[in-house]
Symmetry: D2
Subunit: 362 residues, 4 copies
């Protein structure tokens, strides 16, 4: 369904970077969910650019909910959240219209849309569209928290610096909710920020690895085969720009393990079944086993860099050089964390509503 993710509960994205507005429609949301404006703003702030480690473009971070909310609570009908675009300098882009920025969707969009695409600032492929996704996701994250399900994303590693692992997931997640730069170990975070600043000084960019945990998901969620939890989560996560890989639990590390070290032995204690280890990332056979669901994703270095690059003019059909002069992020890993939380919330909520019905989040 192209710009829609989810079935029982779904989100649809629309908008272009330099159009009138960007937005998201949530359908299938339970009635009666409280809208906590402060919570939404906090999530939007985490996605917004900050200081020297981000673009200097000042994005409008204000949202309007134009449907689906009445007297501060969801009505159960489609919730539409829009964010108007401002501080757009469209003239920056006209000159480069037919020069494919390497690593970007300019050329593929041209192949698909035959030249009718809005090319300004990445158009519909811009990271700008993740703003209403984060805003809409915040409504779902908030509702999940009320059900005891907490979702948090931190920077696992960036520029060779590694954050600590989740130790007490729920407390760690609540703590991350308040951190603009989403790390568990703030010292590691400071080191990462210095590396990002360094990349910016070099007119270059860097990527990194995000780790997301779903804490409190009951056992038995997910479907066999093609709606496995991994399938649904990865489907959503690969919708986020710049994500090029995902692994659950031990992930690629499984290739160096044996069955006897990889299997997570179950243990019964005090009426509760859990696993001694969590190499499977909380998922067996595509279905949650009650352990925290853990996955890591890789975010590639921002493709927009201020270094001269070889490319083509795809309209003229000739080789060309490109030197971008716009306002770019030397790293989007930290900003992408809030987007991961939003998408993960939609994936989890969709599977929960399929299982328990559309009123589950009420």
């Amino acid at each position: 369904m192209k710009n829609t993710f989810g079935n029982s509960l779904s989100v649809t994205l629309f908008g272009e970077s330099h159009g009138a507005a960007v937005g998201a429609v949530i359908d299938g949301l339970a009635p009666g969910i409280e809208i906590d404006g402060e919570y939404i703003r906090k999530k939007l702030l985490k996605r917004a650019p900050h200081g020297r480690i981000s673009t200097s473009r000042h994005e409008n971070n204000e949202y309007k909910i134009i449907s689906g909310v009445f007297e501060g609570r969801t009505t159960g009908t489609p919730l539409t959240l829009i964010m108007e675009n401002n501080d757009v300098r469209s003239s920056d882009y006209a000159a480069f219209r037919s020069l494919a920025r390497p690593g970007h969707a300019d050329y593929t969009a041209y192949c698909k849309y035959h030249g009718y695409e809005d090319y300004r600032g990445g158009g519909h492929f811009s990271g700008r569209i993740t703003a209403p996704l984060v805003g809409a996701g915040a409504v779902v994250l908030y509702a999940l928290e009320k059900k005891g399900i907490f979702i948090g994303t931190h920077i696992k590693s960036c520029a060779g610096i590694t954050d600590r692992d989740f130790s007490a997931p729920q407390a760690d997640i609540i703590c991350l909710n308040d951190r603009i730069f989403p790390v568990l170990d703030e010292n590691a975070g400071e080191k990462m920020k210095r590396k990002i600043s360094l990349a910016a000084e070099n007119h270059d960019s860097i990527g990194g690895i995000l780790e997301t945990v779903i804490y409190g998901l009951p056992a038995g969620i997910g479907e066999p085969w093609f709606d496995s939890l991994e399938s649904v989560i990865s489907h959503g996560i690969f919708g986020i720009p710049a994500v090029k890989g995902i692994e659950f639990g031990a992930g690629f590390g499984f290739s160096d393990m044996t069955g006897s070290t990889a299997n997570d032995p179950f243990v019964y204690d005090n009426g509760k079944i859990s696993a001694k280890t969590n190499n499977n990332g909380g998922i067996n056979g595509g279905i949650s086993n009650g352990m925290p669901v853990i996955f890591r994703t890789v975010v590639k270095p921002t493709p927009s860099i201020a270094i001269k690059q070889d490319t083509v003019d795809f309209i003229k059909g000739e080789n060309a050089a490109l030197e971008l002069s716009g306002r770019h992020d030397p790293c989007i890993v930290h900003r992408a964390a809030a987007v991961h939380e939003a998408v993960t919330a939609f994936a989890a909520a969709d599977m929960l509503c399929l299982r328990f019905g559309t009123d589950y989040l009420a």
Copy 2:
């Protein structure tokens, strides 16, 4: 949609390991596609167990197409392929009914299906269900080859042994079509097989990494955001048992790169646009750019091992020990390659039919 993958063209799986039959229904298939029995058998043979590196269970590998084919060609209506189960020793399983095999779906299936699940041999979660998936996928792979689109999966690494990279993708894929053990470098393959035999002697199991390439996919296939090529492919691939990670192009390697090394500069040559490198795995912004689509997946060590393991009896609610005595695969990486090819074919065909219509494969 649980056991269904795809929209314009879809595949639905059914069956249990020890039930009457397992099967697959393809809907949305173009009319007039030739059914090449030899091609299908070859793919099924690649998935089947062979020699000492596989289970000694002798699976029935014969298929019947009971609908959707007339006079040797597809009719355009649902194609149903079934494979009957035989050589089933259901009594092996009754005694262990409530002992959760670590790493398997026994416990999660119990949580989801409240004890009504067919627990024999993994039931609906068994790798057995991939047999008709491979058979059905062969019909689509064959049709894609006629359109110049070739899909092949090889073992990138297993037990520390690495296969060579794809060099001439189309020729490499044709070559892989004829190899039971799917490697490009047969010396590397022999070494891998020895390692697998060794794991079997140790009553243990190992995993590995598969690499899949789609060669010949035109530029412009895929959708923005939630039906990105990565989203659709990963959704299908995570439906395959034991897959716990996927990465496209440079994948997790992106975390150690900079924008200037990661971006794939475009180049114009002789009327054709391509990229000098392929770190993005043939996909920009979720849409194919005409370069080969490349991704790697990790297959965890087979969870069934003949070593005594700690676990729980989830019905009695107590700790227990489990010693499996059945017939198990010390490694399923090589057998999973054919399944990867099938799922990738469904993903590519679905996106191609969405773009070009349901007759595209005719």
Copy 3:
């Protein structure tokens, strides 16, 4: 999704009239639903041809459930029911291959499938495919009855003869379950049968009107706009061959009413809200109001008649005459009742599972 109906709970049909088998796959079914073989056989018997008022083709009415059932109950994984074809006289059809039977899908199938369609006996468009649909539907009907939701279809009128209205829906439905010829007033039924026999003697055919009721559906089921109860029910019902119209409640009669006579005033009595009249057929704004859901459909006269008809040879491209000599039904209205019950059950179950979750029918 072409041959699939439903989302939270879905049914997929496959097969051709003269192929190996016809079948249905139910996905999303709750675990633990009892399979009552007698109940299924009774429903299949109602759809089967009987006596002089039906075709003399002796269809195989035996079914096999090849997946999704274990120890007499559903497992929660896809349930596949197949029925093998027999007594097929394929040679009847080869001679007429390119003569479009008026009122049938021969020509439109040719336009869509370019000549690759299985033309024997209507192929995939044959009423034969409704057999597994009825068999699969019986599983759902049985489960709905356990939840207090009863679905029944009777012949409202046929050849000018009118059946009585539902008076006590639940008792009426239980009574219909046991009637091969589905009328509430058996005298009316005898008159209808005589008219059908008369049509057969004239080598002609007749149609009629079916009325279906869902009794016991709770208020609040259905979705606004495009998943209104009417939308979902009509979507499924128009999948049944020969249905050309559907109306809910007063239906087309609304065009002669005024708001003051058409509105159903609500009344409160003894803690329960109901409506004094039921012109809206139990549905307001697409959502059930707790009154019985009632709709009528028109089934056109069987297009297969033994009278010489004008038509075209669509391959040669010339006018032609056609005189069918096969075994045909002079009326399929009574046989279609069981199909209506099955489709209505899938529609209701899908909306109930969307609302209350996949375990609702357990």
Copy 4:
């Protein structure tokens, strides 16, 4: 998918009668479709209230397209059209909040949304939401016309007055495009308007029958079984408020016909196959046969009337009387015609894009 209709090409509705705005998102639209503002306004004008035969509420009829259009043409990414609400008198509704207006969705919405629904002016169930649907539909209707496919709806009958049949469908449809009151015979239209005025004077309301034709649809469009053209069209049409029945071709008239009179004999003339009659409404076996697709729908009398009605207070749980004093339409049949055209356009476009690919309308 609740508020979404369509797969290859889809439309999603959002908004409430007295909320900030109502809107529609089209996804899957081809790139390069011209946006003809005049054409859109004309369609919106047909849906808008006019004179004494409509409500005196002055709806804002201005629209904004906030995404998916660039330099006057569609980009191929989601097109979002919004219409702000104004002239809302929300205070009219607060007093009646718990009195179920008979024939309306007040009570069923309360059952479904547990009291969190926006009850003002029908909230999400208001006909107001059809405004952006008509606006978005106009984009698709315009693109279909460029492909030679014309869709038009006229009032077949209202208050006992009958319009003439379509004679030259394409010319008739172009003519209807310019008529605010959509009849082919303007004398009949004048008589209808007098009857509607009379109903208004009586504080009552009336309904009627609409007839829609799709002219120029190629043969071979539609899918077998559950995506029959009838299934897809009826699914969409029953999303329109107040529609309670639909019939294709001869429709319910089939119940009085025989096979020999009902079948449409095919005829070959000058290289073209057509049918001598069109009782099947252009559809055989769920697939278009090249004849005009014709269907009729019944629109019930507007449930809002100024006559005192019996009802219940569903919060207090007691019987009550209701006398509506707001501004109401004595008839919405004529205004619903534009909505039928829009929904039919989405249904046809979805099936055409499924068959021919997403660029079909380009």
